[in-house]
Symmetry: C2
Subunit: 276 residues, 2 copies
């Protein structure tokens, strides 16, 4: 099966990495990318291919020709929070299946758009499928065995690049699951590590990942200190999101081929593995 | 609800700890304990109570009086693998609900006995309910999302007191779940740490737990090394099993009160929390 992919958000770092990963995993990169109005470059070379950048003002005229040349094209969006909703509207208007890797924007409006149109898409706040699986696993624990860790103490510490001011949304989501187990634990109790020497010494973040990482440790300790559980997910860089985006494209292409495409999320992508 | 508990296996260390834990958590310890024929002591003081030891040769004559004095009595068995089946037969014959914390013996015969008699009991190879919950969580991951960690590398290391020669059964059970996710990982690849200096330096086992601990670390690493997941369950001593045994007694007493008692296992005890 030959799958054409247009990665939007080039020349952004994430867009370029996603395009390279798509290419490395055998998908056909089309030589176009939607970009912002303010971008100066007209073309960029990614994965050995020259990619023409299309601004909002030029894309409407170009898209029909592109769709004709690359039938079945799937868009992957790693653009900007401010572009999420208008890009999604563009994809729906031109009936282009898409994977939305960009965070932010009006998520409710985004969901309404794809649901109303029953538009083939994968939208997820986190494209790292292993992290999504981890979150589902903790939610399973909380739902199935809410009393298993009664009397235990929870502690959560997360380290991200020092430029990230706010608490990780993933950590908050995991803590919400733990609260279902009776832990009296507020989001403000999540410990943030943003000091680089501490990130290396205590969290074991490699030096070359200081500028981009997500290291999380969740600990459960019995009251008498004799039992310690620990769950870590440590991500350097953003490759995991690029890989997850490829998985999402492959999943969406499969659903389109089966004529079963509709709006999906990353849990659907994960669960699909079950049926193989 | 006043619950009478007879802890069998005193004066063994585990039997004594279980008796103390039962007492600490508000259960009524009856002043008798089944013990082995070779035990020299006639009575032992546990949790401030004098416990009369009953040998196989004397217990048949004593049991009717005990059951009369302590109605609704539940037995908790932490005796010896060689006593598992004869003790279970004794409990069934005298219609005494029981929690079997002793490992070994003929487990198939044990299950057949309680199933045929629909005998109120909790039998589990591992009374540490948090560990059982962890195992269920990994099994959930393997069953629901078997492709989530495709291309990752698994490594498993477990540390136990140096007198434990064989590989942990818990580690083997967890690895069996991981194999469902496609990991080509043999039980022989589980790394055993039995060297005390290494246990302290590498596994962070406290010195006072060298003689009794179970420290397990499961790691998943992406092929490019950018993503690392780690799951640890580190247990010092055997208190966790004593606490789990109390949970099992409370669960069984509740089921008896609801007239819904039958043979159960630790998963049933764990799941019961869900309904509360």
């Amino acid at each position: 099966m030959s799958i054409f992919v247009m990665v939007n958000g080039i020349p952004g770092d994430m867009g370029k990495m996603v395009a390279e990963t798509m290419s490395a995993r055998g998908l056909n990169l089309v030589p176009f990318s939607l970009t912002g109005e303010a971008i100066a470059e007209k073309e960029v070379t990614v994965a050995g291919k020259t990619i023409q950048l299309l601004k909002p003002s030029t894309r409407e005229n170009a898209i029909d020709g592109i769709l004709k040349d690359y039938p079945g094209l799937i868009c992957v969006d790693y653009t900007h929070p401010s572009a999420v909703n208008e890009n999604a509207a563009f994809y729906v208007r031109h009936k282009i299946p898409f994977v939305m890797g960009t965070t932010g924007g009006d998520r409710e409006a985004l969901q309404k758009l794809v649901q109303d149109a029953a538009h083939p898409s994968v939208i997820a706040p986190n494209m790292a499928k292993q992290i999504v699986a981890f979150q589902a696993m903790i939610e399973f624990l909380a739902t199935e065995f809410p009393t298993a860790f009664e009397g235990y103490r929870l502690s959560v510490v997360e380290s991200h690049q020092k430029t990230k001011a706010d608490t990780s949304g993933t950590a908050k989501a995991v803590v919400a699951s733990f609260r279902k187990m009776g832990f009296d634990f507020d989001d403000s109790q999540i410990e943030l590590v943003r000091n680089e020497p501490e990130q290396m010494a205590r969290m074991h973040v490699p030096e070359n990942a200081l500028s981009g990482h997500a290291f999380h440790t969740y600990s459960l300790d019995s009251a008498d200190g004799s039992v310690h559980f620990e769950f870590q997910h440590n991500v350097c860089g953003r490759k995991i999101y690029a890989e997850g985006s490829v998985d999402a494209v492959l999943f969406l292409a499969e659903k389109i081929a089966e004529k079963a495409a509709r709006p999906f999320n990353m849990m659907d992508v994960l669960r699909s593995g079950k049926m193989k």
